[in-house]
Symmetry: C2
């Protein structure tokens, strides 16, 4: 059975997936970039930025990061991950944070309350805007994935919705040794998620925790 | 300057220092004992239980656990850590969970709303019952510690009170790879604590994080 998977989700030790005082200019919140520093020390992270990755070597962080993109056929994300625009779309000019060729290369479903035609990008990414809820988005994503798994991106509130509905099959989080004090909490009300810790491994930068459904299929 | 220190405080990856559904029969909550398994794999933990510790060796967990008792001259704890009794003391028969000789061996201040005479135990532990608040308890503990540091025990709500007041100088937490879903949250509203991550180190069992005041004295 294809799965819904969350990968490489960085959280502070107090459970926040973004820093306090998020804004358009500061989409990760104050200090939020600290959550992602470990990614950009890996060869995979450096490649994403188009930088020289030859010195980064093969590390646990790099291996785990790469595993998140294996056997993924479609992506779901919340509107806040797609862009900073709230309420109605003023026009169709915003096509994501990622430029002309987003890193998805498959059908990508954006949850929103405001309909909009699909947008075809270079490199195979097609953004679809889903207005009829998380389960409808999941059905469409599984269809689009053609037997592969579906990756659930952020933000935290989108992941929370799928967690509360018990729809996430696997989740990998990277606990980063920073303290935010407040922000957008990820691991809240997890009782309904059905998830349990499957394994964990620490690198010099973060603690990786893999969660899975405690009752198998 | 003597410090107020928290040590060896185990929390789940979703931030709980006890499992759900705490009760007198289940003081750590359902599954709460999983938070403390790492302690009882160390030689120090086995010694605490009076068990043979020779096979446990010297590990990071053991070293960090032992460091929590170094240079401590007094202890503060909440009433729930002292015992299961709520409201008025029915009599003076309850003298803690630890038998005739508690492991403190110094003056120990129990926060409560209900006055009670001090109790002198074997081995040097004296329990004092403080009814005039966390700052009064801290003043008395610093006096009793005679220049050494004061250790702040649990439970989570007591630690939360000192954290919110910005009174904790150092805190060590052990993040345990279990997910509780709900329970008593420790790392909440940490913005007023003044604490920041100083260092972290993972063992095969847990991720140790040391926090300290970000602005020095």
């Amino acid at each position: 059975m294809p799965k819904l998977r969350v990968h490489n989700l960085s959280v502070s030790i107090d459970g926040y997936a973004a820093g306090p005082d998020q804004s358009v200019d500061n989409p990760l919140g104050v200090g939020g970039e600290q959550l992602h520093e470990w990614v950009f020390k890996t060869s995979y992270g450096l490649e994403m930025l188009g930088l020289d990755s030859r010195g980064a070597g093969t590390t646990l962080d790099d291996e785990i990061l790469r595993a998140g993109d294996v056997n993924i056929g479609a992506t779901i994300m919340g509107r806040n991950m797609f862009g900073p625009i709230r309420d109605e779309w003023p026009d169709e000019s915003w096509t994501g944070w990622w430029g002309d060729e987003p890193p998805y290369h498959h059908q990508t479903f954006v949850l929103t309350h405001h309909p909009r035609p699909s947008v075809e990008m270079a490199g195979g990414t097609v953004f679809h805007f889903v207005t009829d809820g998380i389960e409808a988005a999941l059905d469409r994503a599984f269809d689009a994935a053609g037997g592969q798994d579906v990756r659930l991106g952020g933000g935290p509130s989108t992941i929370q919705q799928y967690l509360r509905a018990g729809l996430v099959d696997e989740m990998h989080i990277a606990i980063v040794p920073v303290l935010f004090g407040n922000g957008e909490r990820l691991l809240d009300n997890m009782a309904g998620s059905g998830l349990d810790v499957v394994s964990f491994a620490a690198s010099p930068s973060v603690m990786h925790v893999h969660l899975g459904q405690s009752s198998g299929p």
